[in-house]
Amino acid sequence: MAEDYKGSRVLLVEDEETLAVGLEYNLIEEGYIVIWAKNGREAIDFFAKEKFDLIILDIMLPYVNGFEVAEIVRKADPQIPILMLTAKTESGDKVKGLEKGADDYLTKPFHLQELLLRVNGMLKRKSWYKSSSEKQPVFKFGDNEINFETLNCLHGEEEIRLTPQEAMLLKYLVERNGEIVSRKELLENVWHLNPDIETRTVDIFIARLRKYFEPDPANPVYFKSIRGAGYMFEEK
């Protein structure tokens, strides 16, 4: 399953020894290289010293909690995928986790297969984004300039820093310049979510992109809504 991503380096941040040992075994079996950090402090140290392709991060950690770790990691590396793994179930925690920079969220107890699929999916997205960004790291439209590697953007004189999820959506739309992209397609390919779920996620993110890059967000010229079909990015 993880054939393409064998050798990817995973930082596993989990203080529950029994769970960490099982996770480590399964990730190694999938061909990943796993470094286990037992608390938030260790995770920050490992992250500062070594390169990783993905982080699996628990929230309730000794010394420094998962939210703080995610924030520190995200500042240093805007692109590394972070999968939050926690026993907390309140939706507030999920939102907070995603706000602090996590890309995905899995609640304990979870199914092994689901975890491995998500890890694989995140590495796949990272790889697609990386290769795609390398081909065209900077993209300009109108008075906007987007750097897909640093996620720093310019809207006229104004500087904007995109989140990884915003950058991924923008990249996906830019690559399909002039094509209609449905919400379902975006949910499936950018968020890796079940498209049957009623969600306003796509609309919210499109609204954010309009706010950043449109001259008049109320009358968009780049990020157009196509009634009953989805959205279309069109470079003028």
Binding site: E16, G22, N26, E29, Y63, P109, L112
Partner: protein, 333 residues
């Protein structure tokens, strides 16, 4: 957050209620004073023989009593509401903590079972996984027991297996078991002193006491845990001094740490796992043994010392002997 908001709204309602009451009182006094002359005149016409002073003062006094009664009731309701709010908040935290404590070992067991089902795991690893699952199952059992036993403990239906035992032997044995259980290396603890006297103790209950003390010392130590235990038997009582070099307990929290569900928060070590039942159980167990537990700490970051005092068997009163002798299991070891 929700608790703080609720408290704010309740204080606001209380203040408004008090203001309304004061306003009512003012209107009542004003109305009575301004209408007193009218009452007198009407009274004169209706019944000239009426004794005004007593008759007219009565509704005024009754009105005042009623209004003061209302104010008192509002204060009482407010007080009860606050207590209820605090309890609800503690209970919510407790449920959150217990859920977390239940889910972690459960996830681990599920992970190992799915791993064993889906992969061809080598025999050595299988054994390791089974050990891990057993550890998690024990953790679940401990947690469930601690919750279920609280109620029995409060009804004094638990821990009836009292026996006369050598204080030195049982304390040292239990401490070693706890150190092993919570992986405290030999170089990280020291037991000194002797307590060559007998006490009446329930072994299982005392195990809970030492497990909790050791577990807390481990959880609340920023650096490597360091535990020093000293034993003595002076003045007809056995004293066990249990000290760690952990984060300590602030003076204002020292009384509260034995309360049910109470947990301390320290920014040096956030996210310490637990249910808030440990020290409550410890206190109840020591109390059931006619003993006493106190906490000493010079403050945050300066370590914690628990002082446990248990009556020596030889110095027990008739009443105490009767209490423990009630079950026939009491016998020398």
């Amino acid at each position: 957050m929700r608790g703080k908001h609720s408290l704010f709204y309740h204080i606001l309602i209380f203040i408004i209620a008090q203001l309304v009451w004061l306003l009512l009182l003012g209107i009542w006094i004003y109305w009575y004073v301004s209408n007193y002359i009218v009452f007198e005149k009407v009274g004169d016409q209706v019944s000239p023989q009426l004794i005004y002073d007593v008759q007219n003062a009565l509704p005024f006094i009754l009105g005042l009593i009623l209004l003061i009664g209302l104010s008192f009731t509002t204060s009482l309701i407010f007080r009860h509401l606050n207590v209820q709010l605090r309890l609800t908040e503690l209970y919510d935290n407790f449920i959150g903590n217990v859920t977390h404590e239940l889910k972690s070992p459960l996830s681990s067991i599920q992970l190992y079972l799915e791993t064993l089902k889906q992969r061809d795991v080598p025999l050595e690893k299988r054994k390791e996984f089974i050990d891990m699952m057993m550890k998690d199952a024990d953790r679940l059992q401990d947690l469930i027991n601690s919750i279920l036993e609280i109620s029995a403990q409060e009804k004094k239906k638990l821990f009836q297996d009292y026996r006369v035992v050598q204080a030195d032997l049982i304390v040292k044995d239990l401490l070693k078991e706890s150190f092993e259980k919570f992986r405290v290396a030999k170089e990280n603890y020291r037991i000194s002193g002797e307590a060559p006297c007998e006490i009446v103790a329930d072994r299982d209950a005392m195990k809970i006491v030492f497990d909790n003390l050791v577990d807390n010392a481990v959880k609340y130590s920023v650096q490597q845990v360091q535990i020093i235990v000293s034993l003595s038997c002076i003045s007809k009582k056995v004293t066990i001094i249990f000290s760690d070099l952990g984060i300590g307990v602030a003076a204002k929290e020292q009384k509260k740490i034995f309360n049910k569900f109470y947990r301390i928060y320290n920014k040096e070590i956030p996210n310490v796992k637990g249910t808030g039942l440990g020290l409550y159980r410890v206190k109840e167990i020591i109390k059931a043994h006619d003993g006493k537990i106190t906490v000493l700490s010079e403050g945050e970051g300066k370590g914690t010392t628990f002082k446990l005092e248990l009556p020596a068997y030889g110095a027990m009163s008739e009443r105490q002997l009767k209490k423990f002798l009630n079950n026939e299991k009491l016998r020398g070891v």
